[in-house]
């Protein structure tokens, strides 16, 4: 075309980003020695390599050293060796290293961006304007956490060696999300990038080598499932951080069960994008473009489920289609490309397969008539309508450019539909009515809620999911805590107690005794166990002390139903919850002597010790009451015109398994913070001395605690803990018990990926930092980050 023809056509034409620097970098490197271990470039011990290719063309980019067990061992050993010195370095020293990394990345920003687009296939605009700047921001932000660590996290130190496994959709950004907080906390890391996308991690390792990162602090190993498994199962790793599919996340949860490894999982999603009738519709359409057609839809928090208010559904979908027709598919290095290829043929096949299944189930899938490049793993953007929640496309994470649209009648139905998913990563709410938006946001089961926006991220704002989207947060204060631990104290191992069943005989001659039948406490009522069996309770000297109900799985089921139904407790004001807990403390204080006598009777504790335990329990209740309206969220100010509200929301229904040791204080120390933050509880008290708990429900009954907020099921610890772990309507589970019970609970928790905390078989000193209220308040909440952009 000559210029006059172009003048008539007014087409964009190609605007390719230069790749010569990237090609030169690729050519100059020996990728067979690309394992970065202990500050050195190593070949894989077995000499194996794997290939990485351009998704846009299928062209080979490099053959990368593939780590096996021995290489992982070497990397972990290097990290372990580097740990003491790195941990002992001053915060200022670590801050300078993080800062140097961030600045060096800035200096090579374009090379990172081009390599990322070559390797992953994402449009250069995205890698250049979003991925790389956010990754840099993460390091510079965390330099500050490194320096202020001692002041901001007193009593905490690095958890140790972190094993980190990251996905291919945001290779450099996920690397930054993993490495920056780990280094700031004083951890050393072994990180494995995804097989599809190793290149930017290699460039990053080069930067570490040159920017003054001490040898062994950052180790980057490449490989597939074998290397991943070797990291997950490595006994000398203290913390696993994983971003990827829910499927693999569950495998990792199982693999690490009972190991004592700290674990954070950032998994899949099926995030709702809710458009109310008073939304800025054109802007909401652009939000969708950034939501589901960002990175070809290969985004864990992609707004893949459009929920639009019934009255405007037709008009809105017409706008969506018109916008889709303007999306340009093509070469990721073309600055005019909106949608690049999917990362790999396997991913393309998966997306095609899901779309076909969705159509088979009745979905109408529409795509614009765009030209598709002849080669490469491209998939047209898809709008799927005529779809209900039952359709596979509305349930499964597609991880491709596929939007499903459904309509809703009113706000309640919008929330119901939005929450009708096993996932809970993110959600978008579009409305010009801030009252409506801020009414809806807290009701959405999602770790991140964007109001009138989507896919906004910042290093200062935590990111992570509810439900099966995983647990733990990345970014901000919450993210730092994932790499920190309180100082270890010497603790005794808990021995499993096999609660006896059967009929216990009272010794003769006790004529003054009036028989008592302690029951289970479910839904605010004293109820007999479903199975109608009892178990005997003996005192410290082995004498008959009474009988309690032998709770079973059905009692746990009923208790969970009651706890789920007690919605009033979570929605009560914090002040209200505080007053109830104060009242509970007050009522326990009235009966302090009785409880002390019971403790002495059961545990054989001295009168003084028993009195001290009762006093400590009352004090703990008082303390929790006081914090109910103080353990609050924060407001972040990310570098955009938005406030981000980090809300502390209750986890939901919490299972609590209390220990035999300090049976009253143990139970109260778990119960009080859970209640203070608005959780409802199913408590399994000490199996050895459950009478202390059955005495307690009388106090609960007189303390204005709403029915169902606290449920007590007595019975065998291991058995009931397993039932709680397997119950998919239990959101969290705290267990202080023997190691087998703890491990089993972690193993069985994968059904809904409930948040499990265990003492890992050890007793807890309730007066140490690890047993302190603060630790449990933190576990009692999910942090939800609600982004509220503003301006008029």
């Amino acid at each position: 075309m000559n210029i006059l023809e172009r003048y008539q056509a007014m087409e964009y034409g190609p605007a390719p980003e230069a790749r010569n620097e990237a090609d030169a970098w690729l050519k100059a490197r020996d990728f067979s020695a690309s394992l970065f271990i202990g500050g050195q470039w190593k070949k894989a011990t077995g000499g194996k390599t794997f290939d990485t290719a351009e998704p846009a063309t299928g062209k080979h980019l490099a053959s990368i050293a593939e780590a096996g067990h021995a290489d992982i061992d070497a990397a972990v050993a290097a990290a372990r060796k580097a740990l003491p010195k790195w941990q002992a370095a001053s915060g200022y020293e670590r801050a300078r290293v993080l800062y140097a990394i961030g600045r060096a990345m800035q200096r090579h920003a374009r090379l990172f961006a081009v390599l990322e687009s070559l390797d992953n296939g994402k449009p250069i605009r995205e890698s250049r304007d979003i991925d790389v700047p956010l990754a840099i921001r993460h390091f510079i932000h965390h330099a500050g956490w490194a320096q202020s660590l001692a002041k901001e996290f007193p009593g905490h130190s690095a958890v140790g060696v972190a094993g980190q496994i990251i996905p291919w959709n945001f290779p450099l950004l996920m690397l930054a999300w993993k490495i920056a907080p780990a280094l700031a906390a004083g951890c050393t890391v072994v990180l494995k990038p995804a097989e599809f996308t190793p290149l930017t991690a290699i460039l990053f390792a080069e930067i570490c080598e040159k920017a003054g990162v001490p040898k062994g602090v950052v180790n980057i190993v490449h490989g597939g499932p074998e290397a991943g498994a070797a990291i997950v199962n490595h006994p000398d790793i203290n913390k696993i951080a994983f971003t990827g599919s829910s499927e693999v996340g569950k495998i990792i949860r199982k693999a690490t069960a009972g190991s004592g490894k700290k674990l954070s999982l950032e998994l899949g999603g099926k995030s709702a994008f809710v458009v109310f009738e008073d939304a800025d519709l054109d802007s909401a359409v652009e939000g969708l473009v950034d939501g589901i057609w960002f990175n070809q839809g290969q985004v864990c928090c992609a707004g893949s489920r459009l929920l639009v208010q019934e009255g405007l559904a037709e008009a809105f979908l017409a706008k969506v289609k018109a916008r889709m027709a303007k999306l340009r598919l093509g070469d990721p290095l073309d600055k005019n490309t909106d949608i690049g290829p999917l990362v790999d043929r396997t991913q393309l096949d998966r997306v095609r397969g899901l779309v076909a299944q969705g159509e088979k189930q009745g979905a109408l899938c529409w795509s614009p008539e765009s030209e598709l490049p002849m080669i490469g793993c491209y998939h047209l953007p898809v709008l799927a309508t005529n779809i209900g929640p039952a359709n596979i496309l509305a349930q499964e994470e597609v991880f491709g450019p596929v939007l499903v649209a459904m309509s809703f009648r009113n706000t309640e139905e919008a929330i119901e539909l939005a929450n009708n998913t096993r996932y809970g990563l993110a959600a978008s709410v579009w409305s010009e009515n801030v009252n409506l938006a801020l009414h809806v946001a807290p009701q959405l089961k999602a770790g991140v809620v964007w109001i009138n926006g989507t896919n906004m991220f910042d290093a200062a704002c935590g990111f992570g999911g509810y439900r099966e989207s995983g647990f733990g947060r990345e970014g901000g204060r919450e993210g730092m805590l994932e790499y920190l631990a309180t100082a270890k104290v010497k603790a005794t191992q808990i021995k499993a107690f096999d609660a006896p069943g059967g009929v216990a005989e009272r010794s003769e001659g006790d004529g003054s005794f009036i028989d008592r039948t302690p029951k289970l406490f479910i839904g605010g009522k004293q109820v007999r166990p479903d199975g109608n069996y009892s178990m005997a309770v003996h005192d410290a000297k082995g004498r008959h002390a009474g009988e309690v109900g032998l709770g079973s799985r059905k009692d746990v089921r009923d208790a969970v139903t009651a706890a789920r139904g007690a919605k009033g407790w979570a929605s009560a004001t914090a002040y209200n919850r505080a007053q109830v807990l104060y009242f509970l403390a007050e009522n326990l204080a009235v009966r302090a002597d009785e409880f002390a006598a019971r403790l002495t009777q059961l545990t054989g504790a001295s009168a003084k010790a028993a009195q001290a335990e009762v006093d400590a329990s009352i004090e703990r209740l008082f303390e929790a009451a006081g914090m109910a309206d103080k353990f609050e969220g924060t407001v972040h100010n990310p570098p955009a015109r938005t406030v981000t509200l980090a809300l502390n929301e209750p986890v939901g229904v919490l299972g609590i398994v209390a220990p035999d040791d300090a049976p009253l204080l143990g139970l109260v120390s778990l119960l009080a913070p859970a209640l203070a933050m608005g959780n409802t509880v199913v408590a399994v008290p000490s199996a050895r001395w459950p009478l202390i708990a059955t005495d307690l429900y009388q106090v609960l009954e007189t303390s204005d605690i709403p029915a169902g907020a606290v449920n007590i099921v007595t019975g065998r610890t291991g058995e009931l803990a397993a039932v709680l772990a397997k119950h998919d309507d239990v959101d969290g589970l705290w267990i202080v018990a023997d190691s087998a019970t703890c491990k089993a609970a972690e193993l069985e928790s994968t059904g809904n990926l409930k948040r499990v905390w265990t003492s890992n078989g050890y007793a807890v000193d309730w007066n140490s930092p690890a047993g302190a209220l603060e630790s449990f308040l933190r576990r009692a909440v999910e942090v939800k980050n609600v982004w509220v952009p503003y301006g008029d």
Partner: protein, 310 residues
């Protein structure tokens, strides 16, 4: 059409933050290189209202501007770009009323329109009959395009009926001449007000809606352009009428003109890259485009003084 208050209510939902994000990324999503860039810059020239609106304008100054409009590109640029006999010229020359006759005469036979700013430009605060008389006078002198201003207070006070009535009377006074309604967006406080003023102006008969006079402290910005193009789209969707858009003020670089063309193409489509539906108000833009075109041909960066001034 009549003033439709119900429709205005529907159009109130404007989210500034989201608009700004869209505007900010819009120009990063599209890039125009090489021959296409040269072609697009020629397009910018053809969409230009070459403007002089200084209090010290003179007839001679206006004649010079018209001469530049007649021959915007040097012979070597025309040859180098292969334009042949195709005349690529600004769409109009825009002046104050006293210079309309001068411009009409100077542009005779070129097809270049003469636009007059009117209705107590730039503030719009003289008696209505005076303002209407002004339009008639300019049309009488031969202006075939009239750029009117609205009193911003009518928008800030939500006096939609009054605004509608005034614009409708301007429309009537224009007769056959094209009516461009300048909103003075830098003084309307919110993007919602820009949206509503756009809608009222179109309902009252505007052929074009225009951002600014160039005299406000904030001129044409992309978020303002985005909301006005969305208003135009909504108007077309419901009525079938295509309304034109003219950003003005502060658009002085070739790159900035491309950003606006991208905005039009993305939000409204190719049809809005024609002079009957899109104009730039610009005074110094042309020189920068000439420099860029020269660079395109020679690979050398040019200097302003190497191009004939307006």
């Amino acid at each position: 059409m009549a003033l439709d208050i119900g429709w205005l209510e529907e159009m109130r939902h404007v989210n500034r933050s989201a608009l700004e994000r869209r505007a900010q990324t819009l120009t990063k999503r599209r890039s125009i290189k090489a021959d296409n860039q040269a072609a697009w810059l020629l397009r910018s020239i053809s969409l230009m209202d070459l403007t002089t609106l200084s209090s010290h304008d003179t007839d001679e100054r206006v004649r010079r501007l018209c001469a530049k409009a007649r021959n915007p590109l040097s012979a070597d640029l025309i040859a180098g770009l292969g334009l042949g006999d195709t005349a690529i010229r600004p769409a109009a020359v825009c002046v104050y009323h006293p210079f309309v006759a001068t411009a009409v005469k100077a542009l005779e036979g070129t097809g270049i329109h003469v636009a007059a700013v009117s209705t107590a430009f730039p503030h719009g605060l003289s008696p209505l009959e005076t303002r209407i008389a002004e339009i008639r006078a300019s049309v009488g002198d031969g202006a075939d395009e009239i750029d009117v201003v609205i009193p911003r207070g009518l928008v800030l006070g939500a006096k939609w009926q009054e605004l509608y009535d005034e614009v409708a009377q301007f429309r009537e006074a224009c007769g056959e001449a094209h009516l461009k309604v300048i909103l003075g967006t830098g003084e309307l406080s919110t993007l919602r007000n820009v949206m509503l003023a756009s809608m009222v102006s179109m309902m009252a008969g505007a052929d074009f809606i225009k951002t600014s006079t160039g005299k406000e402290s904030v001129n044409a910005t992309l978020p303002v352009g985005l909301i006005m193009t969305r208003a135009i789209r909504a108007y077309e969707e419901r009525t079938g009428f295509k309304i034109g858009f003219k950003p003005a003020g502060g658009i002085s670089t070739a790159k900035a003109s491309l950003d606006w063309l991208v905005l039009m193409k993305e939000e409204l489509g190719r049809r809005w890259l024609e002079p009957d539906l899109f104009r730039f108000g610009a005074s110094s833009l042309l020189t920068d485009i000439e420099r860029q075109l020269e660079h395109h041909l020679t690979g050398r960066y040019s200097a302003a003084h190497r191009h004939a001034m307006a």
